[in-house]
């Protein structure tokens, strides 16, 4: 275990040393290095928890950031996302206006309701576009 830990620490030290030089920090700035790395990691975790994909782009070249920890975070985010919608006071005001007004269906809603009760309702015919060459 201690040998494994020693090897892991050596790898970590190398990576941190590499990051330190890339970030332009001097060898005495270990705390600054840790702060920078933590800030970057926290940003990535926040994006993943919000259900966003993290990727690096240069023109058409796109690299997706993939990591098991990120997958777990996103899974957790989805599991708690659906059952509750919490409204701000502005949203509550708009909801009140909606629920207080007379029922006047839009033409599209009226058509949808009529379609649903029609025995002639048929699904649209589908034409698949060929992928661009």
């Amino acid at each position: 275990m201690s040998r494994f830990q020693a090897q892991t620490n050596a790898v970590l030290d190398d990576e941190l040393e590499d990051l330190r030089t890339r970030l332009g920090l001097d060898p005495r700035q270990k705390a600054d290095l840790l702060r920078e790395v933590a800030a970057i990691a926290a940003w990535v975790v926040r994006q993943a928890k919000a259900g966003r994909t993290v990727e690096a782009r240069r023109g058409d070249d796109v690299q997706l950031f993939a990591h098991p920890v990120i997958d777990r975070l996103r899974g957790k985010g989805d599991a708690v996302e659906l059952p509750r919608l919490v409204l701000t006071d502005t949203e509550v005001g708009r909801l009140a206006r909606l629920l207080g007004r007379r029922f006047e269906p839009t033409p599209a809603l009226r058509a949808a309701l009529q379609n649903l009760t029609s025995s002639k309702r048929r699904p649209p015919k589908v034409r698949w576009k060929k992928p661009a060459a």
């Binding site: 009140a96 206006r97 949808a112 699904p123 649209p124 576009k129």
Partner: protein, 176 residues
């Protein structure tokens, strides 16, 4: 065989990876979470539109997911508007996702899926064991906002993605 709507189950797993949409999150939900939310988490039920032309392989042209939702307030400050509202939390059905494969967009499939989702919701509201007032969705972009506004959904927020709501009370009272 024309386009058909079916509740998603494990038998459709092989079809999932062929689905394409410009929003990665909508593809990812179908491919990674829809079955899990159905079988394990019991959070949502997904319905897929399957296109299977004669002699060709079946493909998913679109899908939607339905879930229940509890609409609540972030604050407890008294508001004049609350006099016109039922007591919070207000129960509703959430159209959690609706997506059409990017290769078949613009052919009325989104409208057809929306009608299906609304029809299922009204069916439960009229004769199911539950009562609920709202049909809620989160529009993912401005095109989605415009699409749902055509059906009378009202946006609650100003930014996109945007929460949108339809009051079911009038629809349940109407004969059509």
């Amino acid at each position: 065989m024309p386009l058909g709507i079916a509740p998603l189950d494990r038998g459709h797993r092989a079809l999932l990876k062929g689905f394409k949409n410009q929003h990665r999150s909508l593809v990812e939900y179908l491919q990674r979470y829809a079955l899990r939310h159905l079988e394990k988490d019991l959070l949502a039920r997904t319905y897929i539109a399957i296109d299977q032309p004669t002699g060709a392989q079946a493909r998913i042209a679109g899908y939607f997911s339905l879930s229940t939702v509890s609409v609540e307030r972030a604050s407890v400050v008294a508001l004049p508007a609350l006099d016109r509202l039922p007591r919070f939390p207000i129960p509703g059905v959430l159209l959690a996702r609706l997506a059409v494969d990017e290769r078949v967009q613009g052919q009325g499939i989104g409208r057809y899926l929306f009608e299906e989702a609304l029809g299922l919701t009204l069916g439960v509201a009229r004769s199911g064991p539950l009562a609920f007032r709202l049909f809620v969705t989160d529009a993912i972009d401005v095109q989605a906002v415009s699409f749902y506004e055509r059906f009378g959904l009202v946006r609650l927020g100003d930014e996109v993605p945007c929460r949108m709501v339809l009051d079911l009370q009038g629809l349940l009272g109407s004969s059509t």
